[in-house]
Subunit: 370 residues, 2 copies
């Protein structure tokens, strides 16, 4: 039986409000009384139901323009739990994840997805929470030709799909938290490294790798100009801003975040970024519980366990957002985005025009030279 917290808040709300009340809820919290849903085939829907995958699809249309055709692109966000216990071999754990993700991408391909983003360090358990490095080191891999990249290049080519693959990178002995971008022909297109690293309570990524040294790249893919703001970077408004200034139309935020830290602003930050920068944002969180047995300094064993709450969602440049995917199940969220909406909202709201960046460049330079 589903427990209260297995239901997303959206599901609770839907069950308890009448249609007019639900419209008001959606108007205030989601920016639109009725979001357009995309029809999925019965085959896909029943396949997902059978496999316990939460699937949902929405459309974000834009106004008609004279000089530009609609620029529709279909994106997919995948959230998935790990499969094997974390004491299994690297190869076994990784292959099990590969098998599951392969199935999920198949479903995304059937739904017509052209740009797909996976969760943070998707091909491994998120062992950073153990504080241990050496024992897990074989999960770190080459961005250019490691197992995750090789696995996804083939799938990308087969499906003419751009794939964002957030992994743990080992670059000639140095680790990075990196998102690899693979183009629709299966070519390695480039990578971006996580700019801001968390150190919250007993959890810290500092010591595993440094903050990213690659600035704020925007990848001009066949389907859209995309960027990746990895996990904790969503707390930093300037990180979001720079991707926007560099031309991003969609910014993906693959994450690995737990309820105890910030579930109440999971719906705020990426949505605020979409509003402030008038691009689409895509929030993807891991899902499921991961349990690790770690050795303490005194040779005793202890168990470290972290539960990720999924809740992946998409926000449009005008602040309209989708409901969240499940808090507990694997899921695929599909969005059909008309990229023309980015400029339309910019022209309507004027945030770019009124941003006074020159003033802030001066003020920031002054503030950091104190």
């Amino acid at each position: 039986m589903e427990t209260q917290t297995d239901l997303t808040l959206d599901e609770i709300i839907k069950k308890n409000l009448n249609p007019a009340q639900l419209e008001e809820y959606n108007r205030i919290h989601y920016g639109t009384k009725n979001l357009d849903t995309l029809r999925l085939t019965d085959d896909l829907t029943s396949k997902c139901k059978e496999k316990g995958i939460d699937i949902a699809a929405y459309s974000f249309p834009a106004g008609k323009e004279e000089l530009r055709e609609a620029r529709k692109v279909k994106i997919g966000l995948i959230q998935h739990s790990i499969i094997l216990p974390t004491d299994k071999s690297v190869t076994e754990q990784r292959n099990a994840i590969f098998r599951k993700v392969s199935e999920l991408i198949d479903i995304a391909a059937s739904a017509g997805v052209q740009i797909l983003c996976l969760q943070e360090t998707w091909s491994m358990p998120f062992f950073l929470c153990t504080g241990e490095k050496e024992r897990w080191s074989e999960f770190a891999e080459s961005a250019e030709d490691g197992p995750s990249t090789r696995f996804l290049r083939k799938i990308a080519e087969e499906n003419k799909m751009v794939i964002i693959s957030p992994i743990l990178e080992n670059d000639n002995g140095t680790w990075w938290n990196t998102a690899v971008v693979i183009d629709e022909n299966g070519n390695y297109m480039g990578k971006h490294r996580k700019n801001h690293l968390p150190s919250v309570g007993s959890f810290s990524e500092i010591g595993f790798y440094d903050p990213g040294n690659m600035g704020h790249a925007v990848f001009d893919t066949k389907y859209a100009k995309i960027a990746v703001n990895i996990c904790y970077g969503r707390h930093h408004a300037l990180n979001w801003l720079m991707f926007g200034l560099n031309g991003a139309e969609i910014v993906f935020n693959p994450a690995a975040t737990i309820s105890e830290f910030g579930e109440s602003f999971w719906g705020i930050e990426a949505r605020n970024a979409a509003i402030a920068n008038n691009y689409f944002t895509c929030s993807i969180n891991r899902v499921g519980t991961e349990v690790f047995t770690v050795m303490t300094d005194f040779k005793a064993k202890k168990t470290v366990s972290r539960t990720y709450y999924g809740s992946s969602y998409i926000t449009a440049p005008n602040g309209c957002r989708t409901p969240a995917l499940s808090r507990v199940k694997d899921g695929l969220l599909v969005g059909e985005l008309d990229l023309n909406l980015c400029r339309q909202v910019k022209d309507q709201w004027g945030f770019n025009m009124t941003s006074r960046l020159d003033m802030y460049a001066t003020e920031l330079a002054h503030a950091t030279n104190k």
Copy 2:
């Protein structure tokens, strides 16, 4: 009878969810299952009920520290409608507003409020929407010793209250959208000018005044370090950021904003700013409908009408927020804030420590020199 939209969404939710569901709603949307309410005297409560004033009071405690006492401050946000039709004389309209606001501040004083903020251009109808200037020009006043400042200085002194008074300033023939800060002794303390001016659809403030030329002042008042981000400035992350870098513990956002533009992100932006900068934010919106008869260029009359949706609220440095005040009634929102929470959350989450402002100063300088 109250209509659906007379109820706030919070009220609708409260009526339809059971306690466990309500906790989940609060956890996700307000950052805490149960916000601490502050007890108001029965006298105050019944007086407000009688007068149709929405009053609410909440407490945001912080953890106990060894080296610092709790630094509790009581703040008040007032939202109010205008009283007289906009074709009455300046003096009549203003005096009617003075009388109402005087009553509201009396109530705030009885509730122990130490820092009070009024809505944007509180002492006049928000005539900027007419596009007309000359006809309304006598509402523009001196920040240092205009009627609004003189009126509030007396009240501030009587109640030992710091008051933020957002007005339309006329400084030697030049208009500005300005917030005046009056200290607890009734002295003029300083002013801040709105940094970002809207030009959305047919509504534009450009032509009335220029964007602010006073940077991002923080006022070190007796009770707290405060700043004012006026209205449309809430859309700009860097505006919020600079107040934080300059040491603000509470940032007030007095506004005049209508449902058609952004009610769905009214709850997002100031809350996001509180989270990103780990200070308290206070969102204050006008309320009620204001109707203007304006002359068109062809000497015909037309009616311009704008309805403000109130919904004032407070957010804490950890993202917890209060429910919104009424969408339609005058209101007073009281918050008891322990300012120690600002540093506690900064230390816990590490956003400041990981902000990499030097990198962004360089990137922004580059971006604005293209």
